[in-house]
Assembly symmetry: none
Homo-oligomer: 212 residues x 4
DNA sequence: GATGAATGAGTATTCATTCAT
DNA sequence: CATGAATGAATACTCATTCAT
């Protein structure tokens, strides 16, 4: 007789929203953002089209909520709020964690690549990131950049520190860039492959050997 | 006022077709395949919608013709019909050529990534390739695979040959995979960046140093 | 903690209903009937959508209840249940009262115009009215007509009576029609203007001078 | 075999566009803007929904094109580009022309009232008009105002001139406002009535008698 | 070859209304 | 009484494709 409590409503909303985002992510990853219809998402989620619009303003809003949610999740994964110092063991841990995230959030990365392929979006997102990481100046912590540039800075410092105890020809900036490039190669190979592959494990070990 | 010869007609047809494909590629790369309309393509090409359908069966046909055309172009770039033997100098030449192609055909690669993101397409395309390249058996020359697997085979042989004169721990298959992975990293970094970057040149030299 | 008496419940119901109708009228007047959503009404009234359906069968029902309520209010304003005789002073009082009602119920009139713009509704509403007023026969007191036609009849009689003491060319029916027409002009000018305007007062006085 | 000439295409476009606007106006006038569907318009015009969007950007664009078209038509009707001087005969001609336009464009006026009922739109449209007309200063011929304010100025001048030869109590501004008000009353009465009515002719004559 | 008007199936989105709690 | 999640029919709008000229 009596209506649900606000907490009950909040819980229902939270669960439904999660469900929709999960289902939508899968569809987006499989078929692409544009090729995925609101219809198929709601069908697959077992809800009506209208309900989806109770939770999201539209298809674009759904997309950006998904992207933001996962970015924050990944951010939390790395617990970036540490002292900023990366030991060699932590470095290895980091790399293996990255591989794990690639595996567990493969759908998200596929979606992310689609997003980054659109010219306008890409620039806001990535451009400033690498630039910030290579600079020594105080971090310019704009909202968007903050998450990734923070990680980049930690790696930049890591390779800078290795500079001290290496041979003269060692170029820390080149080393950083090559490391990032190699990780991107690993990531994209992984994302574009469906099944798990024994070779990836070997490559990962090799990358750690090379840059640790 | 004399009527054009059949050859002239053929040439006109060829040029128009090329123009349309060129324009379509740019639009696809900029806005994505689904977000690009036949209307905008024909407008930008300065022709009518109807005429486009004189040259292509439909939007999908336009896409696959573009993809095939560029794949063949890239294939020709490498002049793969050689003896299959790759010297160290040829290896370096190859890598630099690849970088050049990335630069000149950036639009194509952006489109290609979109294509490969669609699950069904991806599998037909890439999966068999790397497997073939790692096998010694006679080449399985299916249409699609042939082009890329042929190149892969040449690289596979290259690293196999280096095995003979290196230290005991050398693993040619791992070396091949790491090389491919690194090149992919280089490629994706390049594709997703708009402006040319000094760092890419340094990275390229480093890659050559590492794997030549 | 004692349960409310039935009377209290009834009072609460009445107040809630009034609140909803008041809010709905404002929204209808501002944005138009179709452009106003049940959602915005209930939000603005501080209640749930469901509750609104406890008081009204639907959006249409809400509309017609509003229209009827205000018509009766206006009817009461004029206290039409008099003897039907209109003195000159009462005539002036009437006109000024009309102006007052226009001012105080501006939202209602804006809604009313929307209603009358729909073909089907308009006919039921206004057509018979003026005809009735011009006829001498016994009033055809259909529900809808009754309210307005009663007023019209009073005015008709008023101008008929003036006929007796005026010059030969005096046409009471024309005078009635011109008076109604002028009042309509005044009304519409007023309704379509947001701010109060000094000129309206002057015009009103002029109208009274002309037809009193 | 050969395609239509640009002129032929232009002709087809023009006719179709007119047809759609005509039909849309009727529907808008009958059922109201919001209650009219693109579907019903296209059905009634005997075309597909898609075609409508070849000619108009959307429902709103369709509306504003209709409104503008008729405003310009009405403007032309009055041939306002005269010397600005209105003789008594021209005054009468003007009034009768207005009545004619009301009759012939009744659908348009019904639509116009709907438009003016929306708060934002109304202000841009009418507010500046009457103000401009009452001022003596040089006309501020902003785009929107120009059409109507020009007409208003002519009437304003007309009543100003009558001031010279009338008795002392004559107030030209009041006379102008009363005239406008009366014409509005005539217009609205006319617009809200379906059939033609003998009484309107009588009223019109009376108005001319009063203000000529 | 070439044009662009015309189609219609498909898509995102809205909103009155219902109903379990 | 009261709530707001849930529904689904309806609606504006898009776009690949066809076809008469």
């Amino acid at each position: 007789m009596s209506p649900r409590s606000p907490e009950q409503y909040e819980e229902i909303r939270g669960e439904k929203k999660s469900l929709i985002m999960q289902v939508a992510l899968e569809e987006f990853a499989e078929k692409g953002f544009h090729a995925t219809t609101i219809n198929s998402i709601s069908k697959r989620a077992g809800i009506s089209k209208g309900l989806l619009y109770n939770y999201f303003k539209g298809k674009d809003d759904l997309l950006s909520e998904i992207v933001l949610k996962y970015i924050y999740e990944i951010y939390d994964y790395f617990d970036v709020n540490r002292d900023g110092h990366l030991s060699e063991d932590e470095f290895e841990f980091f790399i293996r964690k990255m591989a794990l995230i690639l595996k567990e959030k493969r759908d998200f990365w596929r979606l992310m690549i689609q997003v980054l392929l659109q010219n306008e979006v890409r620039e806001q997102f990535f451009s400033s990131v690498t630039r910030n990481a290579n600079e020594d100046g105080p971090q310019d912590s704009h909202k968007n950049d903050f998450l990734i540039s923070r990680i980049m800075k930690i790696f930049s410092d890591y390779f800078e520190r290795k500079n001290d105890r290496r041979e003269p020809g060692y170029d820390p900036e080149l080393e950083l860039n090559m490391f990032i490039l190699t990780m991107k190669g690993f990531a994209f190979s992984y994302i574009f492959t469906d099944r798990d592959d024994l070779r990836f494990e070997k490559c990962l070990n090799n990358i750690i050997d090379l840059y640790k």
